[in-house]
Amino acid sequence: MRAPLLVEHAATKLDGPLLFLKRTVEAALGDAVEVRGRDGHARLGRIVALDDQALTIEVLESSAGLDLPSTVVRFRGEPLSFALGPGILGRVFNGVGQVIDGGPPIAASEHRAIDGLPMNPVARALPRDFIETGVSAIDVMNSLVRGQKLPIFSGGGLPHDRLAIDVARHARLRGAGGDFAIVFCGIGLPYDSAEAFRSALEASGALERTALFLNLASDSSTQRLLTPRYALTAAEYLAFVEGKHVLAILTDMTNYCEALREVSSSKGEMPSRKGFPGYLYSDLATLYERAGCLRGHPGTLTQLSILTMPADDIAHPIPDLTGYITEGQIVLSRELDRRGVRPPVAVLPSLSRLAKDGTGGKYTHPDHPALASQLYAAYARAVQTRVLASVVGEDGLAEADRRYLAFGRRFEQDFVHQDGPRTLEESMDAGWRLLAELPRNELTRLSDAQIAAHLA
């Protein structure tokens, strides 16, 4: 049976973004199609299920206006791919990789399947290069390294956008420069947030090093599932073909997960926690794991994804599963935000799993890990004391405990809060200054030599 390219009069059912066809062609799972309705408008789609009688197409743009008799489907005979070439930086794309900035199309040097391929764990190089972000709560406490995937767990109304922009603007490798690029991927973003990102990048002169992918809140939700895949395919191309150091910013992953739930339920799949499909973990992993360094490749791919925790609940499946995949998380706190701490990073639940590989002697400062550990221990005790004080009152506390309370307040106001970017040295000095106020005998995470060197 030779596959005809065009299929007419085969549609049997339309349900939301899904189009069901009688199977009259040899098509494979994942193949790309174009769906043309009465209006003549071609919509991108892909095959998501098939058996010997029927096939199911997920339409990636609005399916409004399609009908059964006049719908024509064109089969491409290959999975969705993205035509990439030099010159994608400085350009703006929609959620399915089409240029929308009015400029000429991209001169493609290669086609890459948007689902990518899993990196061979043996071929990965361990991420080690410390990135200075200018944010103390990240640089000292939860250091970011090249090739890491570190999400920001935020909540509606918190300044996560600003934090991401600050990081994108200031991120630099200590010492060497390297060729740096940004891939910005807006998933279900309101128009004004997208515009704010664009103008902030423009103002800092970073726009010509940036490729923007925008799926706006008004675009179809099926498309949301593809936007990060197009963006990460471009990022992989920039990193592993052009050899650039790429920072991919994905926002907002919560919108992605919501879209996944919506499409899954319209496919009639068995729902799992909170209605999300059971494969949410595996699906998120296919995005997050597309970060890293490869042996023998100069470029790296670092991911900074933003997600807003529904109802600020870190146990919600979206942040929960994300935290199990990513190499740590930066958590923003509403309480700190209300108290005017900028950026409002909640240090205790935040974590960078790769900090141990990129800090210390060879990478930052030999005493950096001990400083971070001691600040953590002291601040955790301060927070614990705060709970105690809320019941018995500050007066009911012992002298030592009151010192910790004061330490906790200053840690938030003088260390986490910052008015402008700080170098790592400035951040570390701020940390040592705070520790100097605590009894030396209790600084058990520091060696005697470290105390003598920094707290004398």
Binding site: N120, S282, A285, D320, Y324, Q329, K356, Y376, D401, R440
Partner: protein
């Protein structure tokens, strides 16, 4: 003899196919022109249902499926150590493998090993008997066994010398008169436990080098332990610390649905580190099986069986093997995902109803055994659990709890204060601890049990007093109780905290653990006596050597046990006459010398 079938339906990692000829349940199949590996999981009349262990993009109805006539099996051999494999024990690596493509053939090729026969023609060979030794390169010496399903009279055996691991090694005539042969590299079906002569009761612990585990919650050699913990509580770091430091002959490290960068970290670190027992690179006692979270989900389901089969292979050579599985929750989720695609009725938490029995099958393969050749070997299973939302009542955690004998709960609060390992002493347990008194007595610590009980009681008391202090304030507690809180704080900091990255403290030998326990107990006695004689709590808390006590793990290594004696003398000196001083140490801010 191999059956054929034609795909009629594909969805993610599973397919249905109409067959000509008979397929067997759990038979390995090869799908499509790329020969993707799969396994039959259900048969319904003319149709089979199968799971495919590779990416199924591009498969379509009409594609051919071929049966292999054999259950899903893996290839075991002397070349396994130091290697890195996918969920079906195919080597990951080789040239141009930056990305993993479906159907890419990672042929293992031949590996040459130096063989030394231990049998000669005419000998009677029994199943599982040692027929010689093999060594690959400068790796450790391994035993070569007669496969457990073969026995008979030896007809021919290869001469000593270098030999390909898949070349004929021994020919024998079975009891039925039929001739068989085998090589150093042998196949074994992953879902079938390898046979043993008999199982033995646990008697010694697996020494892990982690103080909180060895002293408070030991796991038996041939035992089973689970590490549940929410994200960021340090499961992986703890498992890696165990893989580095535990006293096993062979480590099988299974990265099941976890991060690629972690595997990269292990690969970078292990060749550099030294095995504390043999002095060889740590990598030479390690087999890594990796199915990262973005690799095909069905292979994740199989990887846990591959790993335990590898562990049994080394156990049969008379070795102690420890298997670290990170994480069993990802395995259970793979089970759930595949089950959901087949439209099976979901049970608790969406998991299939057979979750509990599958977990039991897995954990039951841990044992201390007498092998078929009469040697003693063991497989110890340590599985991490990643409960959703850190909720320990979910099905995987609660079922696992029924099959393991050591349970190491990781605590979010401890992890947030960067107190590692974040094992919570009041939420963890070991059912076997009482059996190991003889072991500790053999290490020169016949007081271990008493000390253990004393410190467990201290931690229990601390939790009670802290609850009380939260209501009435710490200052309102009587001095004796405030001293208990101080003692517990120092014990936590000095003994339970142990950095996995510190060169000195990474591994604590039983002798060092016992020395630290005794020193802490001595200090507790001194402090209690001084308090009884009238010393103030402020004076007791300001004793300069407390800082040295809290940091002793970091400062005094395994080879410097006399350092604990010196510290004890210092602690004793600083407590003498403490009660007589009018006011002891008004400035706590002076650094200890």
């Amino acid at each position: 003899m191999s059956a054929r079938a034609e795909i009629c339906w594909v969805s993610g990692p599973v397919l249905r196919a109409r067959c000509e000829g008979a397929f067997a349940l759990r038979e390995a199949i090869s799908v499509g022109p790329l020969g993707l590996l799969g396994e039959v999981v259900r048969i319904e009349g003319e149709e089979i249902m199968a799971q495919v262990y590779e990416d199924t993009t591009g498969l379509k109805p009409g594609v051919e499926v071929r049966g292999s006539g054999l259950p899903l099996s893996i290839e075991l051999g002397p070349a396994l150590l130091g290697g890195m494999y996918d969920g079906l024990l195919r080597p990951l690596g080789g040239p141009d493998t930056a990305f993993v493509r479906a159907g890419a053939s990672f042929g293992r090729g031949h590996v040459v090993a130096a063989f030394e026969p231990a049998v000669k023609p005419g000998d009677a060979l029994s199943a599982g008997m040692i027929v010689g030794t093999a060594r690959v390169g400068d790796g450790p010496l391994q035993k070569v066994l007669c496969p457990p399903d073969m026995a008979g009279e030896c007809l021919w055996v290869a001469a000593a010398g270098l030999l390909a691991d898949d070349a004929l090694l021994v020919r024998l005539r079975g009891a039925d008169g039929i001739e068989h042969g085998f090589a150093m590299r042998q196949r074994w079906p992953v879902r079938t436990p390898r046979p043993v002569a008999r199982r033995l009761p646990a008697e010694a612990p697996l020494v892990t080098g982690q103080r909180i585990l060895d002293t408070l919650f030991p796991v038996a050699l041939g035992g089973r332990a689970a590490i549940p913990g929410g994200f960021g509580t340090g499961k992986t770091v703890l498992l890696e610390a165990l893989a580095r430091g535990c006293e096993a002959d062979v480590i099988v490290y299974l990265g099941c649905g976890e991060r690629g960068n972690e595997i990269a970290g292990v690969l970078e670190e292990f060749p550099e580190l030294e095995d504390p027992r043999s002095g060889r690179p740590l990598m030479q006692r390690t087999v890594i099986i990796a199915n990262t979270s973005n690799m095909p989900v069905a292979a994740r389901e199989a990887s846990i069986y591959s790993a335990v089969t590898v562990a049994e292979w080394f156990r049969d050579q008379g070795l102690n093997v420890a298997l670290m599985a990170d994480s069993t929750s990802r395995w259970a989720e793979a089970l759930r995902e595949v089950s959901g695609r087949f439209g099976e009725l979901p049970g608790e938490g969406g998991y299939p109803a057979y979750l509990a029995s599958r977990l039991a099958d897995f954990y039951e393969r841990a044992a201390l055994v007498e092998t078929l050749s009469g040697a003693r070997g063991s497989v110890t299973l340590i599985g991490a659990i990643s409960p959703p939302s850190g909720d320990f009542s979910e099905p995987v955690t609660s079922h696992t709890k029924r099959y393991v004998r050591a349970f190491w709960t990781l605590d979010v609060k401890r992890a947030q204060a960067r107190f590692y390992p974040a094992v919570h002493p009041l939420m963890s347990y070991s059912e076997d601890a009482a059996r190991f008194r003889a072991f500790w007595a053999g290490q020169g610590a016949d007081d271990w049990w008493a000390l253990r009980q004393r410190f467990l009681a201290l931690l229990e008391e601390q939790a009670r007093l802290e609850r009380m202090a939260r209501i009435i304030g710490k200052d309102a507690l009587p001095p004796r109780q405030q001293l208990t809180l101080l003692q517990a704080e120092i014990f936590n900091e000095a003994f339970l905290r142990q950095s996995a990255f510190s060169a000195v403290d990474r591994i604590a030998t039983p002798a060092r653990q016992a020395a630290m326990l005794r020193l802490l107990a001595r200090w507790m006695d001194l402090a209690e006596a001084a308090l009884a004689e009238g010393a103030t709590l402020a004076a007791l808390a300001a004793v300069p050597s407390l800082r040295a006590l809290a940091r002793m793990g970091e400062e005094i290594g395994n080879q410097e046990l006399q350092g604990f004696e010196a510290l004890r003398e210092r602690v004793e000196a600083e407590h003498t006459g403490l009660a007589d001083k009018h006011q002891g140490g008004d400035d706590a801010g002076t650094a200890a010398g």
